[in-house]
């Protein structure tokens, strides 16, 4: 692409997309949303806990005799 083409494309892009500028401000305080996001993460159950639970349920289904042993160790 030649220099003059580059200039034309630059002008066209500027005409199509006005700059937002650095003065944009959020319409609301975002701290509560950040806190919600942080709390949500704390409450989330790690994947390996789910995997362990699935394994135990599978074991109990395949070998019901293991249920008393599992209950003993709870």
């Amino acid at each position: 692409m030649k220099e003059d083409e580059l200039d034309r494309m630059t002008k066209l892009l500027k005409a199509a997309l006005p700059p937002v500028g650095a003065d944009a401000e959020p319409a609301r305080d975002l701290w509560p949303a950040v806190l919600r996001r942080m709390d949500g993460r704390v409450a989330a159950v790690p994947w390996f806990d789910w995997a362990l639970l699935a394994g135990l349920l599978g074991l109990a289904a395949l070998a019901p005799a293991s249920i008393p042993v599992l209950l003993y160790y709870l």
């Binding site: 692409m1 083409e5 580059l6 034309r8 494309m9 630059t10 002008k11 066209l12 892009l13 500027k14 005409a15 199509a16 997309l17 006005p18 700059p19 937002v20 500028g21 650095a22 003065d23 944009a24 401000e25 959020p26 319409a27 609301r28 975002l30 701290w31 949303a33 950040v34 996001r37 942080m38 993460r41």
Partner: protein, 181 residues
């Protein structure tokens, strides 16, 4: 004063939520303003700002107080905005609706019609996000290449290459639509 700032940064690094809130209050507006320039949508900018501060909180232990909070936050915000651009679905609105909403920026070339502006904006939205973000910050927002390079974590040359590729792809897309810039 400087000692107090350093204390806040050190406490943040140790995981203090109070220090994190202090830094959030100091930098919320700057991060939102930066993200707005990339995503160009107020609601999305709020979501990306929240995502940015969530990532900042998660990464608190890796923060190096000597390197400053603002540049670090800006890099994280840029990557969060880039992820948003990658996940964004292409606009489904039809061209005529889009043209009605598109007002010419002050000082825009009168020869460029609303239809061409709309098609350019839509074609720009179809560019790969990595190229779009470089072109948005360098061409549309007219930021120095060095500042864009720092935010993206790439070299100044790489920024210039991405901008060039973005403009070339944009030109090709417009030519396919019968528009010769």
């Amino acid at each position: 004063m400087e000692q107090a700032e350093n204390d806040v940064l050190n406490q943040f690094r140790m995981g203090s939520v109070e220090a994190f809130e202090t830094l959030f209050r100091q930098h919320q507006r700057t991060v939102y303003g930066w993200v707005s320039r990339i995503v160009r949508n107020a609601a999305a900018a709020e979501d990306v700002t929240v995502e940015t501060f969530w990532r900042i909180h998660k990464a608190h232990a890796r923060f190096e107080p000597g390197r400053g909070f603002a540049p670090w936050a800006r890099r994280i915000a840029t990557h969060a905005a880039l992820d948003w651009l990658r996940a964004e679905r292409p606009a489904r609105r039809n061209d005529s609706e889009f043209i009605e909403d598109l007002t010419a920026p002050a000082g825009a070339d009168a020869a460029v019609t609303a239809e061409i502006r709309a098609k350019t904006a839509l074609a720009f939205g179809r560019l790969p996000p990595k190229l779009r973000i470089a072109a948005t910050l360098s061409v549309v927002e007219e930021l120095p290449a060095r500042e864009v390079a720092e935010a993206l974590g790439i070299s100044v040359t790489a920024v210039k290459v991405r901008v060039f590729r973005a403009l070339r792809l944009l030109r090709n897309d417009l030519e396919r639509q019968g528009i010769t810039p």
